[in-house]
Symmetry: D2
Subunit: 346 residues, 4 copies
């Protein structure tokens, strides 16, 4: 029997049919490459309606690049970037940020993936001392890698603190849609409107094929981004196909439909797990993922049928992801499998 | 009237319908992300049938990345990379190679975009002198940026020379298909079989949407490429969609059908231009592009209707590209327009 | 009254007269630059008598460079370097290591500046996962930035652990002499002989003017170091003057005479502080520095007469350094000043 | 018989006695490290009297670092730096500039090591095109690596051209003193006063032991240099010893006395060579070096007694350097040896 990989990552899903259709719909004829085409111009216009007309918005291929090149635009090599210890930026980008920007990432331990002013404060040291990396950007993830979300007030507080200390606020929004769906806000309301300076706006985990947007809420920060993107190997030649995807993503709020479904499925999954004795939901379930502590034996048995990750290879906390394609019956079947795995003798 | 952009670049075309169809055909169900899926495994297998079973093959997003990361894998920062002065690597990647690999590019003037042993020889200086960058890779482009192609014997001679001097031979094969179509050879026959060590194998300019392959003919050179690709921001999550494209690209030799058409169109275009007095074809027409010297006034008039590039902004030599979608009637109409532009008084 | 800066850093001292004399003694005549001179050849020979004849040894200008370039030689950009949270490497080199090597530094909290296998173990995660930086080097400092020293057995355990996990052991020996003096061992006994792979051997903090040595205990690791050093801006032209210093440093064990004196002075200082009520020695005093917790008011008063650093700008723990020039009477006078500062009313 | 190395490089000489004496004269007592000491403050003040009070001046260890870090301060990674094909920057720094700044060096062929507006003009291409490195700095060497010097008017023309095109003018002044001595001007008159923006001011080749100065004629360009220097491994701890050297270098115009002597010796050498039939002086002799074409057999014979470099390992043009210690009798003896080498049969 094939292993079911649907809970392993929201990247394991395919592409939403409306996105696929959009790729086809822009296919005819010649258009100028590298973004000087009408499709791209129109899509950027639509995105500016969402994020604000004074933004500067650029497409890159993936989320790692959106983070690294967005940060590269506002960071010098002697700066440091403060982030949660669990941030994708520092854990899962193979030290690409250090490599490409040349900066230090300062990892701040958190219980739920969320930075707070109190957590960050003690790391603001060495300012103006040439021996020490200069704190320059705080990077937060919305929704976090732990499935939690920042409320607007929390982001505002972080932005205020950052700006008071001549720092900037960066947001990894690989799952911004899931956060907005959970918080019932718009996309701008939980990013630029709260003081975020640079945003990675992700689509791939929420139904797109490839392509992410880097949104600069202050155009000055984007002054050289076209050069940075090209030099950073992230300028796609046939840009119309990323533009078409983002255009479809915004049409009839596809992003919201997809994200809401994914979140609902995560809540259903959490509800099911909650009822299984011996299993502990270990993070608040807000976006489209569930963290749970499952006995080790049970994990090992389950992994013969289901593909999913431990949060840390040394613990029994597992991460279960839902996506826009997750089916309730798959969740019920999975819950059943977990129950069975808990009852088996060693 | 809209400006016709079809001769501006082979990137101005859309995506071949068989490629689009392939994207759709792999869309259902969950598969593991980042390349551990069956589609990718099968496609890599097919590519190894083409390039050799002892190769190591990886997908990245675009040609700039294929060049930079492929070279990064075999080059240390104190090395130098020798290439033609016209190479994409050195002209059109916004000094990404210098930036990412940290090496020096040594630009060698050529008349036709092709390196030869005689041209390279004088640049082999400073070997073992720690004050000087160490020549380590020769990079050639097949077909070249000037539309010419290397014959197998020419590549063999360069490879032999490189290896005799403890150097490697890299090939930018963004238009390898066009070269193979012109030379009536297979893809391996004009790359690995001639001694090329690392190849960027391009699909985007020949009918794909995005995605290129880095082919290492010696697996040892690829030992760390998975880390290099991830760190280099070029690991796509939904890998199945690049794999599907390459799979379709190989099926029934789509690559050859597309490239042959593009080449034929370039030859037709050259034939037309040849007959216009006052215009000079300035490079041998082999692959899918035509270089011609056109009087400046004529260029300026034409550019009101046609989008195309001068080879160098200071000269009257223009580059005219054909692609798998180029239509004979567009060529005839363009030839007509050129004729008219030549006849107008100042 | 001038502020007394003698306890601020062992870099605040001048140069030992024997070192100054050595500079003069090699001044006559022409010698080949960049290290191909007889003085350098002889000094390297002497250093090999100390560290082992199968070592490869190179001079650079300073300790930051010795660390960064030594590590650069054995580390690829997708690696990570594990070090104590207090390591100079990660705190006081302005993220030079991240910038120049492109790697991640993994900061491990310690109570006394010393790594142990138990402390390091939990950080060995993500091995072979291309999403994650690959643990590749453990870097320890001997003596540590906290004034403590690693016993040979402790280093052996770390080296064994590192090698078992295909990692290397790097040692920042900016104060290796002080450690050897305290432990009553030779320099090799607490570095290469315990399994250290790469060593930064410092002289500047112990009586030299400038110049540090990078010692590779496995010559293979140094294969490209001459290129790395030149490219890294650390190849001095008039090499004879660094060589002369190191030669004098070894002659009649000047390094040991200097380090022993500095250590003794630190012990005298600790003894004095111990007797002052309200002051707590906060780290074991082994090498040439004393850490003590002093009431904030007292620190502020003292700093009007004495220049010294807080360990962390947010705490009341201060670092007091001794050097080869520290005089007992200065210590007694300082102890007196501390006492006075403690008695003053707010 | 030992090989005479005096004509091999001006780095082959020792240190001027006044410099050595200066090192000794600042040796007593404690001073704050890293440049916050009175000696450094006073020396910077003196240098500002020479170069202008609105400059920002910093010390680094060597000329390679002065070039790379000075340029790093004013260059972004997507920029290019235009220099003569013979520039130290591009030939003899082991691609350190590409590595550390991440930029492209554009090598411009010259007959005498000197850039002119006409030579540079054709390389100003691709401006504002994100595919291409953006020309941002012109770097010239004064005196050049070919022994020639720029007249003030020539520098002014280059500066004007650079500034008109939003570029900066950098000067590698490793031998600025020799140029000033030859041109009978002050140091500022042929650098900042002509519009140079950033200068590497060298002392090592002219009698110092180590240490160079980076002079920014516009303080804004130096805003982050303290961080760049520390991160770039070029902040010396015991700064007083570089300061003392520069202080002595300025005192009673030691720099001019040394440079004048070196230049005179080069002119004497040229005069001698001129009289030898079969030898051709191949560059104008202005500063302290002589380029001459000598028959290959003769070079091979001479190199058994004399150490000197060919300009290019493939030609018979040799570079002969003079320094502040060169003795007329050594020149006469060398001329004699050349004559003999020319008369020997094969």
């Amino acid at each position: 029997m094939a292993i079911f990989t649907g809970f392993g990552s929201d990247n394991h899903s395919g592409v939403h049919p409306e996105i696929l259709h959009a790729l086809q719909s822009v296919n005819d004829g010649y258009v100028i490459a590298y973004g000087d085409d009408e499709y791209t111009i129109q899509t950027i216009k639509k995105l500016k309606q969402v994020f604000g007309k004074d933004t500067a918005i650029f497409f890159v291929y993936n989320g790692t690049a959106a983070n690294i090149l967005g940060l590269r635009s506002v960071t010098d090599s002697f700066h440091s970037i403060l982030c949660a210890e669990s941030a994708h930026l520092t854990v899962h980008e193979c030290c690409g940020p250090e490599n490409y920007i040349g900066t230090k990432l300062v990892n701040i331990p958190t219980s739920d993936g969320k930075l707070t002013v109190d957590l960050v404060q003690p790391y603001l040291i060495g300012v103006n001392d040439p021996h020490m990396a200069q704190p320059h950007v705080m990077s937060i993830t919305q929704a976090t890698e732990r499935g939690t979300t920042y409320r607007p007030k929390e982001i505002q507080a972080l932005a205020k603190f950052a700006h008071q200390h001549q720092m900037l606020l960066h947001m990894d929004g690989a799952r911004l849609c899931n956060a907005a769906a959970f918080l019932k806000t718009g996309l701008r309301e939980i990013s630029g409107a709260c003081g975020v300076d640079v945003l990675s706006f992700g689509g791939t985990k929420n139904g797109m094929m490839y392509g992410e947007a880097v949104v600069f809420f202050n155009k000055d920060h984007a002054r050289y981004f076209e050069f940075i993107r090209k030099q950073g190997m992230q300028l796609t030649s046939k840009m119309r196909y990323i533009s078409a995807q983002f255009s479809a993503f915004l049409r009839d709020e596809l992003w919201l439909r997809n994200a809401s479904h994914a979140n609902e499925m995560a809540h259903l999954l959490a509800q099911q797990l909650q009822e299984i004795p011996g299993i502990k939901i270990s993070q608040k379930v807000e976006a489209n993922m569930v963290y749970a502590i499952i006995p080790n034996q049970s994990i090992l048995r389950l992994q013969k049928q289901y593909y999913f990750h431990r949060f840390n290879e040394r613990t029994c906390e597992v991460r279960l992801m839902c996506s826009f394609t997750t089916q309730p019956e798959d969740i019920l079947r999975f819950a059943q499998a977990i129950r069975r795995s808990m009852m088996q003798k060693k």
